[in-house]
């Protein structure tokens, strides 16, 4: 008797929950969960697009191919450099902006909105704009460097150079990222107890000293959060690179991992190889995030 009762109520619970769960879970399974498994399986095959069941099993060959592919290795280097340069820059500038915005001056709400505008601006639009500014003949950047600041003698062909073409890509990320870091820091700054600051002031600590011995340690958890989230974001860099370098131009030297994945899959229809590349990146991101959390947490606790 008791068994059937529990069984019945369990059934009822499922019946109640099912309509709440169904729409979301169905979409999630179709377009998120199944694709994760699907692409994992694909990464071991030479995937046959018209007839998947005739795909050729390759084992780890796609992964080995990636490691031996110079374009892929270059893409890894570019992507890591992108993260290593833009993440610290935007976090440092974001902290600076947050400290400024935290002053109770007139017009503070206005400045807050202005600082956040780059964050909500579409990646494609910003990318296209920077591409125009870095034009090799009559771009604004060349004009500033040559005719105003006299730093260069002749025009630089930014977008035609395998290294310099990434300069605008890096700048877009920093320009867009600062406002977001600033908002997060600003929220965290509200949590720095005022009496702690006052006590430090009474003890004779100047603003610089107060910043390094009170504010910065209090912001440790926020900094860790920003480092991890922006590292993941930048390692997934894609849109601004596609727009500015046309996806790897010149000569496939400016790829990020994901622009290369796009080219491999949708340009040369090697879906299995593309899937392997995306799994590479996912595992790499997981490892980097884990290491960052360990390192920064240990440092935080030792302060």
């Amino acid at each position: 008797m008791a068994g059937t009762l529990i069984h019945g109520s369990r059934r009822r619970k499922i019946a109640t929950a099912l309509p709440f769960l169904a729409p979301g879970i169905i979409l999630y399974v179709l377009f998120v969960a199944a694709p994760i498994v699907y692409s994992f399986a694909m990464s071991f095959f030479d995937w046959n697009l018209s007839n998947p069941f005739q795909s050729t099993w390759l084992g780890l060959a796609n992964y080995r191919k990636a490691l031996n592919d110079e374009v892929f290795r270059r893409a890894i280097v570019n992507t890591v450099a992108y993260s290593a340069v833009t993440v610290p820059s935007q976090i440092a500038l974001g902290l600076g902006a947050a400290l400024l915005l935290n002053h109770k001056v007139r017009g503070q709400p206005f400045f807050r909105v202005v600082y956040y505008l780059p964050v909500i601006t579409n990646w494609v639009i910003v990318g296209v704009l920077f591409k125009y500014a870095f034009n090799g003949q009559a771009g604004l950047v060349n004009f500033l460097l040559r005719d105003v600041l006299h730093l260069i003698g002749s025009n630089v062909l930014w977008l035609g150079d395998p290294v310099l073409a990434l300069v605008p890509v890096f700048l877009v990320e920093i320009w867009k990222g600062v406002g977001w870091c600033a908002v997060i820091y600003l929220a965290a700054l509200q949590g720095v107890p005022a009496n702690l600051m006052e006590a430090a002031t009474v003890d004779g600590a100047g603003p610089v000293r107060r910043f390094f011995s009170v504010t910065l340690p209090m912001l440790g958890a926020t900094t860790l959060f920003l480092v991890v989230v922006r590292t993941i974001g930048t390692l997934n860099g894609y849109v601004s690179n596609v727009v500015i370098t046309n996806g790897g131009q010149p000569m496939d030297q400016t790829h990020f991992v994901l622009t290369l994945m796009y080219k491999v899959a949708f340009g040369s229809l090697q879906f299995g190889y593309g899937a392997a590349i995306s799994y590479f990146l996912t595992v790499f991101i997981a490892i980097v995030s884990f290491v960052e959390m360990r390192v920064l947490q240990d440092r935080g606790s030792s302060i």
Binding site: L27, Y115, I120, A138, V239, Y262, L281
Partner: protein
Amino acid sequence: MNLHSHDAAQKSIVYVLLAVGAAISVFPFWYMLITSLKPQSYIFEIPPTLWPAQATFSNYVKALTRDNFGRYFVNSVGVAGSMTVLTLLCASLLAYAFARLEFPLRRLLFGLVVAGLMIPPVMLIIPQFLVARTLGILDSYAGLVLVYVAMNMPMQSFLLKGFFAGIPIDLEESAFMDGAGRWRVWAQLVMPLSRPALAVVTIFSFIYSLDEFAWAHVSIRTAARRTLPIAIAFFQTQHKTEWGIVFAASVVSLVPIVLLFVTFQRYFIEGITTTGLKG
């Protein structure tokens, strides 16, 4: 007295630095606007002017008429509107189930949905392409909307679950005493009480959709079905020098986002700081 002037000096330094930052934030918008107002022959003038000396609206007219950007604008807003409504529905139902209902595997399911937050979106593009092809929704608005809802939902249901869980349970219990069922409690009690959270979900979903590039880029083949980001990118690669039109289209496509943001900026900041997620 001395202290006072020290304060004033500090204040003016803060103002100067704030203004420099604001100029860096705003300048690209100004540059875009100015360029969108230049006639084609002035696009690569030297020295470049940063003032609308020869202002004309011809780029806007061309963008909207000759180059079909009006259509792309409608596509973008239509897709964003539909996906936002569907996201609100799916995410709030899911969040209510996770916050209040008891059913087997609840924790596991919630964990799986939250794990969706950590998956790099572009990584899913290849298999999503194949799933959409099987379902016959490649190159369609439906394909855009459904994938956007699926991708955006984990974050939104996570946010809503937290909010729903914070609603005093006594309210719901007294509604049950009065004979209301689960659906009525959800629709007539929980949802109206959650307006601030639903506003955050609405704004973030709308912006997510307007901003999305990678999936639209892969799935849309028919030119007339393009959304603004891919239309602008395509136009720029095809008409390499017609920058005035590119920026006229960009300015127009920024209008809804900036308006939304300026109107609802309080919700934005709240949403960002409570979820820690990027808009």
